[in-house]
Symmetry: C2
Subunit: 310 residues, 2 copies
């Protein structure tokens, strides 16, 4: 006799299968997923079959390949689980080995640059041995990378109602801390009829054309959530992280964007008008994963301290 119990494999879902499931769903194709994962089409097919019988539901409809309702549900969980599986490994390595000589920081483009550079300079002076590498990307990338442990620290910015936190794409297990807040403003082309106003309500602009630039400006999704409306429609989308490019697009009349007012001061071709209703704030938050706190809290204190000094 080799097995004491009947079946034991039927109670814990295999993350390997979860990963190929996620990949297939993302690709919309078994063959493509196989290519990306280094498997055979056959292997992927078998894995999905195994997963479906294990869970007891059809997760993908084939031809075209896409998640079923049940599959959609699983995708949410699967992404979080895979993320945390990575986080666990990273966290243990950090707790186990010696503290790393390099601190990776992920930043969104508008995460209070002055504040950050001040804090970094201070950190550099106090701990010359520590190499600090800062990388600028989109918010989602920063969040998941911090959650996964690829970045020891993250600084993200966004627009929200005064007491609401920034949405974190529910990566779980990471804590956020407010380091700076300022007023968000609508950026208009210099000659725009509303450019002379002192303040604007989002309602005034519901029918305007917007540029959705989630990686540089306030994502429209944030605005919709904060303003509790769904009227704001994007005319074009800009996926880069370059502020001058975005401002050029606004100046050229392709649409409006929301940015922290401090970031637009003195830029040519555009005018920033503060948003009066609804009451919103542009906020910069410091993110840390768990054990990273050891090196991180250090910078966290520095940031909040320097903020008070401003």
């Amino acid at each position: 006799m080799t097995r004491a119990r009947s079946i034991r494999n039927t109670d814990l879902v295999d993350p390997q299968l979860l990963r190929t499931f996620v990949t297939v769903a993302r690709c919309g194709s078994f063959s493509e997923a196989a290519r990306q994962l280094g498997y055979t089409q056959s292997a992927v097919s078998q894995q999905i079959a195994t997963l479906e019988t294990d869970i007891g539901a059809v997760l993908l409809h084939r031809r075209p390949v896409g998640p079923t309702t049940a599959g959609e549900r699983l995708l949410d969980h699967a992404a979080a689980i895979l993320l945390r599986l990575d986080a666990a490994r990273a966290d243990v390595r950090l707790a186990s080995g010696e503290p790393p000589g390099v601190l990776q920081i992920g930043l969104t483009p508008l995460a209070s640059p002055a504040l950050v550079s001040t804090a970094l300079a201070g950190l550099r002076r106090d701990r010359p041995g520590l190499e600090v590498v800062a990388t600028v990307t989109g918010r989602e990338t920063v969040v998941t990378s911090v959650a996964r442990g690829d970045f020891g620290l993250g600084l993200i910015d966004g627009v929200a109602a005064p007491n609401d936190p920034l949405p974190l794409y529910d990566a779980g297990h990471l804590s956020a801390e407010v380091v700076a807040e300022d007023a968000p403003a609508v950026v208009l082309p210099a000659g725009h009829p509303l450019a002379s106003r002192k303040g604007l309500g989002l309602d005034d602009l519901a029918d305007a054309r917007w540029i959705d630039a989630p990686d540089v400006a306030a994502p429209l999704a944030d605005l919709r959530a904060a303003a509790d409306t769904d009227r704001l429609r994007a005319s074009i989308r800009y996926d880069g992280t370059d502020l001058p490019t975005l401002l050029a697009l606004v100046a050229a009349g392709h649409g409006l964007a929301v940015l922290p007012s401090t970031a637009v001061a003195g830029m040519a071709g555009v005018t920033a008008v503060q948003i009066t209703t609804p009451r919103l704030v542009h906020r910069t938050e410091l993110l840390h994963g768990l054990q990273a706190a050891r090196a991180a809290v250090d910078l966290g204190e520095r940031l909040t301290a320097s903020q008070e000094g401003e």
Copy 2:
């Protein structure tokens, strides 16, 4: 050739191993864990060894058996991962099959009983087919069970600062909604010197003897967190969920407890005095796991509606 890549097993941690790791850490013994899991001691030993080499760190020190620093870190993640793995399965089943004929609700003993029973009665009338099973337990059990999908809905209560949420033992992925708030009060024996006061500050009571009854009254840990102090020491601990028993303990002079003032009104042998500083609220929150929302939102709306009608 059978394998396309060198090694592939080295990047995703096996949850099976995680579970035995958690069990061993909890038991403090390989043999006991083996018994609980239905394995051999040998198998457990091999699994831990595999996990340790996979992650690349010693997770347990032996004789006596206990988690190392790295192991402590892993335990946090492992618990959350295992929970969510269960949640994923439950959520998919729910989304896949027909809506269940029975709604399991988990309650903490002081979760606004009147409110709940009103809402339940309404639910019962409108959907006679739905069987509602309510179970009273401690807060942690409710939270994890809702997270795991064992309960479709949870109602927990606790004490916190007015704008802080109740601590959720970070189970992740579950959303909370405030359904009721009232003022917390200190419960004193009827003849107590302070029983005639109109209001009390927690500072006045720092040196008093407290009963820590986390499953019936406000857990002392909540109070310490909310009051930002660490002076409140427990003289005895009561792990039951029975309110009369707790009140009897208070009446007998074994210590004080904090309860919502409404719950103590008219009870013999004890007096409740409202807490004036720091400003605290006793709050009841409705928890739901993800897809459970389908049946749950229903009750959620009903609860908030009936609250406004009160």
